[in-house]
């Protein structure tokens, strides 16, 4: 009765909710970019890896920085190399196409097989950046005036776009996307994720860590809340350090792994000192450092 569009089912190393899996498959079926928003560490980047792995496709990653221009994703014409070659090289400089280097989008278009294209952290770029890509993402083609060549996608890539919500994205862009917001996992969900990474982790240790971790995240003064990546690193540090579960909530060992900014460490201290009734044990252990 219904078509079986459930192509992406997840991958062994990635925990995916039903909602997210549905969103992925909807985007694939409708051939629209999938825009994934969520706090850092909620598995946005890893989702693209999981899609690629789950579907057995190559993953092309375009990391966006504040200086990234849309054009770079299409192609770059290396005029300087050409000029140099004309003087010193033994290359045939009459063929401009030697000096046209495709960007990540271009690479995805010319691929002989369908690929997964991840445009990672699109909100880092200039405000107009997403708009500048509308045409290419809609039409899946672009023109290179230098070589009078039109690059048309051989296979429409599966496009995954992530955003940490640093900037608002333009409406025209949003309207073309399938959208999903990854909420920060609750402790149960987090246990699943941890199990994927450390299947043999001591139960007691995990419980204690999760308690401390989610407590830390509730402290309003902490600017950069520890995320999944930090938690995973922390767990690893604790295991390697052979820390007993009993000590975890008392001492918060290797706290620097969870809170990377000094001001957040200070904020935690401030918090503990100003709310003495809440965690006396902590205050003592901190003050002795």
């Amino acid at each position: 009765m219904t078509k079986s569009f459930g192509e992406y089912r997840g991958s062994s190393n990635y925990i995916v909710s039903d909602e997210l899996r549905n969103a992925v498959n909807i985007a694939i079926a409708l051939q629209k970019p999938l825009l994934i928003k969520g706090d850092p560490g909620t598995g946005k980047t890893m989702l693209a890896q999981s899609i690629a792995e789950g579907l057995g496709k190559r993953l092309i990653i375009w990391n966006i920085k504040s200086t990234t221009k849309a054009q770079e994703g299409l192609y770059v014409y290396d005029t300087v190399q050409r000029l140099y070659d004309s003087q010193f090289g033994d290359h045939d400089v009459s063929d401009i196409s030697h000096y046209i280097k495709l960007g990540k989008l271009g690479e995805a278009f010319v691929s002989d097989e369908q690929v997964v294209l991840l445009i990672d952290e699109i909100d880092k770029a200039d405000l107009e950046f997403p708009n500048d890509l509308l045409w290419e993402l809609d039409q899946m083609s672009f023109y290179i005036p230098e070589t009078k060549e039109t690059i048309v996608a051989k296979h429409r890539p599966i496009v995954v776009i992530t955003s940490n919500a640093e900037k608002e994205l333009p409406d025209a862009f949003l309207r073309r996307c399938i959208f999903h917001y990854i909420a920060f996992p609750d402790p149960e969900g987090m246990k699943e994720i941890i199990k994927v990474h450390y299947p043999d982790l001591d139960k007691k240790l995990m419980e204690q860590c999760l308690e401390a971790f989610y407590w830390l995240r509730t402290i309003p003064e902490i600017q950069k809340k520890p995320s999944t990546s930090e938690l995973l690193d922390w767990l690893q540090a604790l295991v390697i350090g052979g820390i007993s579960p009993k000590r975890i909530k008392e001492e918060l060992p290797f706290l620097g792994v969870l809170l990377k900014k000094n001001q957040d460490l200070d904020a935690l201290l401030w918090h503990l000192n100003n709310r003495p009734q809440s965690r006396i044990a902590h205050r003592q252990s901190f003050q002795t450092r």
């Binding site: 009765m1 219904t2 078509k3 569009f5 039903d18 909602e19 549905n22 969103a23 498959n25 909807i26 985007a27 079926a29 409708l30 629209k32 825009l35 928003k37 300087v80 000029l83 140099y84 003087q87 010193f88 405000l127 708009n131 608002e168 333009p170 409406d171 025209a172 949003l174 309207r175 073309r176 996307c177 399938i178 959208f179 999903h180 917001y181 909420a183």
Partner: protein, 398 residues
């Protein structure tokens, strides 16, 4: 019927565009809703909602609409039924536009609402037109009667030829000879500043020649920081029906601006008669391809030089009334004139270019609104001389 869901979403403040709505219908046709209400819910949300800030509103709307649907088994059938229906693609006839002056805005809207109510019960297919007949009191002198346009894009375009359709032909492919003259005028719009920082990315030709000569002809490239034109330009063009006679002229200006590579930045938006809450990204002026005017005001600095292009001719209510917007299905809380003033306030360096020759400004049908807009923006006619004067105005320190 399913269309109700659309209105309930709107009621709850989930801004759903026609584009997204049709995407949802496509998805349903493709069977992407599966057979469970949950999958259907995920589908609707993923397609229609683009920020987690609206998830909650969406949930409210969903609950309100689906309180009747209990068993998941019902779902596919119900959807297929809904799919038969659609937003009635209504538009206004040319007669309606012509007769606009005889009807006040309220009557017009009421009539349309009634008609709309009748038609929500009907199967889509065919365009419903509302007209009152009558003859045209207006010529083609650039007057733009305030017709009201309903709903999204018609699914049945070919059935109807809207005389006043707001399409400029594809701007970018238009090659016009006189463009050059406009371009020359625009070239005067520059203000150089040498950048003090940033990478040296521009080839210094003189430096290179000198260095290479010193090197006895062995090439040595010398780079410098690009000298920058600090001028940023915002071009905002009316692409309403009454602008059709001036399409060629506007094309020329657009092409000229677009080719004037010396601007630090060029932004182009479109509007229909007057600026309200939305600015459009292409001349079709459809909501599905628009941005909020507020977004533009927030993100473009006040130092943009603004060229507004339009015949400034419309029904006075379009400027003065709440809800005066010509596009039905949209509602402006604030009168157009407020938006216009706000625009000018944010961009002190703004001018208006009017394709209607200046000598007609006081006698054309649009005289009232032309005058009102002249009070806000210095207005020049869209000719080479007019553009020259406008550019001078824009260069002057404000």
């Amino acid at each position: 019927m399913f269309t109700d869901f659309y209105y309930i979403l709107k009621k709850h403040g989930v801004p759903v565009s026609m584009n997204e709505w049709y995407t949802l219908l496509d998805a349903l046709e493709m069977g992407l809703a599966g057979s469970s209400l949950t999958t259907f819910y995920h589908l609707c949300r993923a397609v229609l909602v683009k920020t987690e800030a609206h998830y909650d509103r969406f949930d409210l709307a969903f609950a309100e609409y689906f309180h009747g649907v209990e068993t998941p088994e019902d779902l596919p059938e119900t959807i297929w039924e809904w799919l038969d229906k659609n937003l009635p693609p209504l538009e206004i006839t040319e007669e309606m536009r012509r007769n606009h002056k005889q009807l006040d805005l309220e009557t017009l809207k009421k009539m349309l609402e009634e008609r709309l109510k009748e038609q929500t019960e009907e199967h889509h297919g065919g365009n419903y037109w509302i007209g009152t007949g009558g003859t045209s009191p207006f010529g083609h002198s650039g007057y733009h009667p305030g017709g009201i346009r309903i709903g999204g894009q018609s699914r049945n375009k070919s059935a109807v030829k809207v005389a006043g359709e707001r399409h400029f032909r594809d701007f970018r492919n238009d090659t016009v000879l006189d463009t050059r003259q406009f371009q020359m005028a625009l070239r005067k719009l520059r203000q150089f500043s040498t950048r003090l920082e940033g990478p040296k990315t521009e080839l210094d030709i003189e430096g290179t020649v000198e260095a290479t000569s010193k090197n006895a002809g062995r090439l040595e490239l010398v780079w410098e920081r690009p000298r920058e034109n600090a001028i940023k330009v915002l071009l905002v063009m009316d692409s309403g029906g009454s602008m059709t006679p001036y399409t060629r002229l506007c094309n020329q200006l657009f092409t000229a601006a677009n080719r004037s590579k010396h601007f630090k930045d060029l932004q182009v938006y479109y509007f229909h008669n007057c600026i309200y809450d939305l600015l459009y990204l292409d001349p079709r002026c459809v909501v599905s391809n628009s941005v909020e005017t507020k977004y533009v005001l927030r993100n473009l600095d006040s130092d943009y030089r603004v060229l507004l292009v339009g015949d400034a001719s419309m029904a006075p209510t379009e400027l003065t009334a709440r809800g005066g917007i010509i596009d039905w299905g949209q509602f402006n809380e604030e009168p157009g004139i407020v938006w216009m003033r706000r625009f000018k306030q944010h961009f002190p360096s703004s001018v208006w270019l009017n394709p209607i020759p200046a000598r007609y400004w006081e006698i054309t049908e649009g005289a009232v609104t032309i005058k009102m807009l002249q009070d806000i923006f210095p207005m020049f006619e869209l000719t080479v001389e007019g553009l020259d004067m406008a550019v001078k105005k824009l260069r002057a320190k404000n």
